[in-house]
C-alpha cells in the first residue's frame, strides 16, 4: 500500500505541474486574445503609456512566457520577493503568485478564505451523506412505497433546483421574514462556535439538499442492483439476519460508486463553492475567485484554479485508496 501511495503521489505532482503549465499558458494568452492588458488594469484608468510601461516591467510582464512560468514555479518551491515601494514583500513558500490589486500573496489570501470554504463543505457533506444515503437505502428497501415515491420526488426537486434558488428562498424565509437566522454572515468557529453553526445552517441545508438528492438516487439504484445479486440470496439462505445482509453484503457493495462521487464532490467544493458562497456573501475560496474574475485579478484566478485542481486530484487519490478498503476485489497494484 505504501508503494501504491508513493507512486500515485508522484503522479499527483506531475499532474499538478501539467495543470499549472496549462493554466499559466491560458492566463498568459487569454488577456492578449481579449485585448486586455493586466498592466494597464493595475496602473489605473488615468495612467499614461509611460506609467503602464513601468508597471509592465514591475510585474515582469515584459518577459517571455517561459521565464514568467519559471519564476512562478520557483516561487512555489522557493518563494519570491516583490517590490512594494520603500521595501520588498517576501512571498513565502508556496508562493502561488502575488495579487497586485490586493497587495497580498495569493496563497495567504486563499489560506485566509479556506476556513470558510472548509466549514461550508464539511458541514454540508456530513448532512448530505447521512441524509442522502439513508433515504437511498430506505427507498431501495421500500421500493414502490409512498415513502420511496415521495423521497424520489423530493430528490428530483433537489437535483433540479440550483443553489441560487434554494439559497435565496432559504434566506427569504428564515432570515428576512421569520428572522430565525437574521443577518446571515460568516463567523469563525474559534470566535463563536454556536454562531458559526447557526450562520452556516442555511447554506449547509441548501448545499445538502442539492447533493443529497444525487446521493439518494445513486444509493437507491445501487442498492436495488446489489440486493438482487446471487450472493445476497445466498447470504439470506445461510440464515443471516436481514440487517446483516443489508449492511455487510448489500450496502458495502453499493458503497463503492458513492465513495467515488463523494470524493470528487467534496474535492470540488473545497476548491470553492462558488455559487453558494456568492449567494450568502460568505468570503470563501469561491467568492475570492468570483471577485478576482470581476476585477481580472489573474494571479488569484490562477491560484484558485490550481488550488481547486489540487483538491480534486488529491480527492481522487484518497478515493483510490479507500476503494481497496471498501471493495476487497480492488488491490493496491
Amino acid at each position: 500500500m505504501g508503494r501504491f501511495i508513493v507512486r500515485r503521489s508522484i503522479g499527483v505532482v506531475l499532474l499538478l505541474i501539467i495543470v499549472s503549465m496549462a493554466t499559466f499558458g491560458i492566463f498568459f494568452l487569454a488577456p492578449k486574445l481579449v485585448g486586455t492588458d493586466p498592466a494597464r488594469l493595475f496602473a489605473g484608468r488615468v495612467a499614461d503609456d509611460a506609467t503602464v510601461k513601468q508597471v509592465t516591467k514591475k510585474l515582469g510582464l515584459d518577459q517571455p512566457i517561459y521565464i514568467q512560468y519559471a519564476r512562478y514555479a520557483k516561487g512555489i518551491v522557493a518563494g519570491r520577493d516583490f517590490n512594494n515601494g520603500p521595501d520588498k514583500t517576501h512571498c513565502k513558500i508556496p508562493c502561488l503568485g502575488y495579487s497586485f490589486k490586493n497587495d497580498q500573496a495569493v496563497w495567504a489570501l486563499m489560506l485566509d478564505r479556506l476556513p470558510v470554504t472548509v466549514s461550508m463543505a464539511i458541514g454540508a457533506a456530513v448532512l448530505w451523506l447521512i441524509s442522502g444515503v439513508s433515504v437511498g437505502i430506505l427507498s431501495a428497501l421500500k421500493r414502490g412505497s409512498i415513502f420511496d415515491r415521495a423521497a424520489m420526488g423530493v430528490a428530483l426537486a433537489g437535483v433540479s433546483l440550483p443553489v441560487y434558488f434554494t439559497g435565496l428562498l432559504g434566506l427569504s424565509i428564515f432570515s428576512y421574514n421569520l428572522k430565525i437566522f437574521p443577518n446571515v454572515h460568516y463567523v469563525g468557529f474559534t470566535t463563536n462556535p454556536l454562531s458559526w453553526a447557526s450562520n452556516l445552517l442555511i447554506p449547509w441545508v441548501c448545499l445538502a439538499f442539492l447533493y443529497s438528492a444525487t446521493y439518494a438516487r445513486l444509493t437507491r439504484a445501487n442498492m436495488l442492483e446489489t440486493m438482487g445479486e446471487d450472493y445476497i440470496r445466498t447470504a439470506r439462505a445461510k440464515g443471516l439476519p436481514e440487517r446483516t445482509v443489508i449492511a455487510r453484503h448489500g450496502f458495502r457493495a453499493a458503497l463503492t460508486p458513492i465513495v467515488t462521487i463523494f470524493g470528487l464532490d467534496l474535492g470540488g467544493l473545497l476548491g470553492g463553492a462558488v455559487l453558494t458562497e456568492t449567494v450568502f456573501g460568505f468570503p470563501g475560496i469561491g467568492k475570492l475567485a468570483v471577485d478576482a474574475i470581476a476585477q481580472l485579478d489573474l494571479p488569484i484566478i490562477l491560484g484558485v484554479t490550481l488550488f481547486a485542481a489540487f483538491f480534486i486530484i488529491v480527492a481522487n487519490l484518497v478515493v483510490d485508496v479507500l476503494y481497496a478498503y471498501v471493495d476487497p476485489r480492488v488491490r493496491y497494484t
Partner: protein
Amino acid sequence: MSRTYLLKTGAALAVLALGAAACGGSSGGSKTNNAKGVSAAYNAAITSVVNVSDKKGGTLNYVASSDFDSLDPARTYYAYSWNFQRIYQRTLLAFQPKVGKEGAQVTGDLAKNKGVFTDGGKTVTYEMRDGITFDDGSPITSADIKYALERSFAEDVINGGPGSTYLKPVLVGGDAYKGPYKDKAGLASIDVTDPKKIVFHLSKAFSDFDYLMALPISTPVPQAKDTGARYQFKPVSSGPYKIDTYQPNKLLKLVRNDKWNAASDPLRKALPDTIVVTEGLEPDDMDSRLLNGSADMEIEGTGVQPTAVSKILTNPESKKLADNPSTGFTRYITIQEKVPPFDNIHCRKAVQYAADKVSLQFSRGGPVAGGDFAGQMLVPTLPAYKQFDEYPSGPDHKGDLAKAKDELKQCGKPDGFSTKIATGNKGKGPKTAAALQQGLARVGIKADIVAVDAATYYTGFIGVPDNVHKRGLGLAIAGWGPDFPSEYGFFESIVDGRAIKAAGNSNYSEFNNPEVNSLIDQAQTTTDVAKRNDIWGQVDKKVMEGADYLPFVADKALVYRAARMSNVYINGAFGAYDLMNIGING
C-alpha cells in the same frame, strides 16, 4: 467614466438647494449642520438633515457589495471610499458636512482655512490647526502632508488614485518627479519649512486647487510608517476613528481613536462607538438586510435593485426612509468624429435627433432608478448649469425623426448608414446600446453592438483612440461625473482637446475645439464667480453644438436609510449620504 470609478458629485438640484438654504444654517466649519432636522419622509434627506442628534454610542452596521478600492488615501478613486474616509481620516481641506450644494463647498480641516492665493494665483498657502495628531498621539505637521502628496507621484507603486494626474501639471517640477521612493530629495515646489504651514508653488494659476486639497490625497502620511503598496492594510488614522479590523472583501471595523483631539476638529461629531462594514454581499441580499433592519445603510450609494425599488415605493413606511437624489453623473453616448461618417457633423446630428431618449432612460432604470432626461452635458448640481436642450427629441422624448432624416440628407446619406456601438458587457451598458440601436434603426442607421469586457472597457478599449479608429467604433456608451464638484473637474478630461491621450483617454469622441480649449483656460484664471460660471455655460453650449456628445439622463439613484440613524442627509459633494456624522438614535 464608470459609476464606481470616479467621485459622484453633487446631489442637490437647484430647487433642492433653495430648500436647503431656506432651512437656514450656521457658519462654515460648525459641527451643527446647516439645515434644521426633520423626521423621516421621502426625499427628506435631500433638503434637510433627518433625525438631528448628538447622541453618542452604539454600532453602525453598513453593507457593501464589494471592497473599497483602497484604504490608502493616495490610491483610492471610488466615490464611496472617499466619502467613507471622511469618518476616520482628515484632509488639509474637506467638503463641508452640509446638505446639498453647501456640502460641495470646501472648508478647513487640518488647515485653519482655505488656501491663500498670491503671486497671481501661482502660490497657495495653508496654515495648519493646533492640536492635530495621528492615532499614536504624534503631532501632524505640514511635512506629513507633503510626503502624502509626494507618494501620489510614485505611480508604479501607489497606483489607482488621481493624485499625480492633477498634481503633475500643476506643481512646479511635478511633471518630472517620480515620487519619494526614487527621489529622496522630494518635490521642492511644496515648501514645509514651517511645520505649521504648507506652501505650494504652482506652474500656472489653478483656481480649483482648494478642491484638490479636499481629496483624500491630502490625508497626512507619516513617512516612518509608510509601507508603500501595503500601506492600505494599516493606514495611520488622523480622525476620530481608527481601523480595528480590516479583512479585504469581508469586513472593516472602525473603533474610536482616543488620541483624536475633538477641539481641533470642528467638522466631526464622532457619535457611534463602532462602525462595521460588511463587504462582498449580493445587491439583493443587501436590500433585504436594509429593509428588515439588520443593516443601516448601503454605503456605495448606487441605489437599491429593481425588486427593492418597487417594494419601497409601494410601501409608505419604507418610502419615507428612502431618497432619490441626483448622483452628479451624466449618462451619454459619444459620437466619434474621427470615425466616418461621423466626421460630418450632420451625421452626428442625425444620431442626436434619432435617439429615443425614453428607451435610453428606461435602459438605466427609468426616471427613479435611472435619472431625469438630459439635453446637455453639464450636471444640474454644478453652479454653472443652465438648462437647455440643443437637440430636442420631440415632446414625448422619443426622437425627432423628421429632423434626423433631414440631417441624414445634409450628410449625404439619405438612406442611413452602418456603424458600431461600443459598450461594456456588464451592468446597464448592453441595455443602453440596444435602446440606442433600436432608436437609430428607425431612420436607417444600422448599428452593430460591440460588447467587451467591462473591466477594461474604458481603460483598454474606448480609452485608446487607435483602437476606436481601427474597429470603427462610431458610437460608445459612457458616463461621467467630476472628481471634484467644479466645472473644471467635470469638463477638463472629456472636452479639452489638449487632454486627448494615446491611451487612458477620457475624451472618447476626440472633441477638440480650440475655442473651447481657450474658454477652459480663461475660466481657470477668472476669479469672478459669475463671469466664470458664464464661461462654463459657454463651454457647455459649444460642446453640444459640436454634436459629439449625446447626453440622455442625469443620473439618479433610490437610496435607503435605516430609521434609527441620526444626522442623515445627501451631501452635494458626493451625491450620496454623507457618512461623516451619522449616529444612532434608536
